[in-house]
Subunit: 130 residues, 2 copies
DNA sequence: GCTTGACTTGGAGTATACTCCAAGTAATAT
DNA sequence: ATATTACTTGGAGTATACTCCAAGTCAAGC
């Protein structure tokens, strides 16, 4: 699979794919005799992982570290486990922040829906009226 | 309330507080006769909102826009409602991405927990073994 | 054989969101 | 009164994550 095909399959730019490879966020992709990237199935797994984790906000550094550990073989199982657990923690925290913000937005939206109908914006007592 | 007190109350740097004010992400804070920021209760509401929304990843631009609309008065209720709804949508999407990534991490973690015990990393059939 | 289009590399540029700094003013403690 | 500390401003610098570009190589169709 060429970089173009991968780029279209996952809706990610070729530049970004090359960038991910260059910095070690995905392992080096095998090449044709002419030196052109030829993505294998297992490479696609890495690409999927990278996209999934990045879209959740996981830092690139963590993914680079994970790839490095992976390439060092079975001796790094424990280190990889720890890395994954740390990142899960961080995503769970992020999710909590997100939910707090969504709740706040929902409350505000409910007030503004009334305000648009009545022309008056009202708040509950402890609210700071913003 | 001085900027130092606000900074300590919300665990945010004074630089960031001034930055938020300068770019219009929170309204201008009233000053003492000497020109020093003197945060009122309502200002704290804005600070809280800014911190909450930023920590959820809401872009600064959206918050600046919201403050602008707010300052234009009651005529912007509908515009503010729309802005809030759009941002909620975007946070809901972000939450979905986050959950996908957390699920993936949980699956990997479960495999690695076994791997650390047994010395062998195993995957289900459709997995790309990463 | 040559043109077209896709590929390569390394490096520079951009966007977002802070974060730091210098130079100066103001308030507080002794 | 003076030293220390906190505050002010505007502008420059940093971190992260891309994103674009230039110059060159390679492969397929005509």
């Amino acid at each position: 699979m060429t970089i173009k095909e991968v780029s279209e399959k996952y809706n990610i730019s070729q530049d970004t794919l090359r960038y991910y490879e260059r910095i070690g966020m995905i392992p080096e992709i095998s090449r044709t005799p002419g030196g052109i990237r030829n993505y294998q199935e297992s490479d696609l797994g890495w690409v999927e992982l990278a996209i999934c984790m990045r879209s959740a906000g996981l830092p690139i550094e963590a993914l680079i570290e994970y790839v490095k550990l992976y390439q060092q073989g079975d001796a790094t199982f424990a280190a990889r486990l720890q890395l994954l657990q740390e990142q899960r923690e961080s995503l769970e925290e992020q999710k909590a922040q997100l939910e707090k913000a969504i709740n706040k937005l929902n409350y505000k939206i409910s007030r503004y829906e009334i305000a648009v109908k009545t022309g008056k914006l009202t708040w509950e007592d402890d609210d700071k009226c913003i």
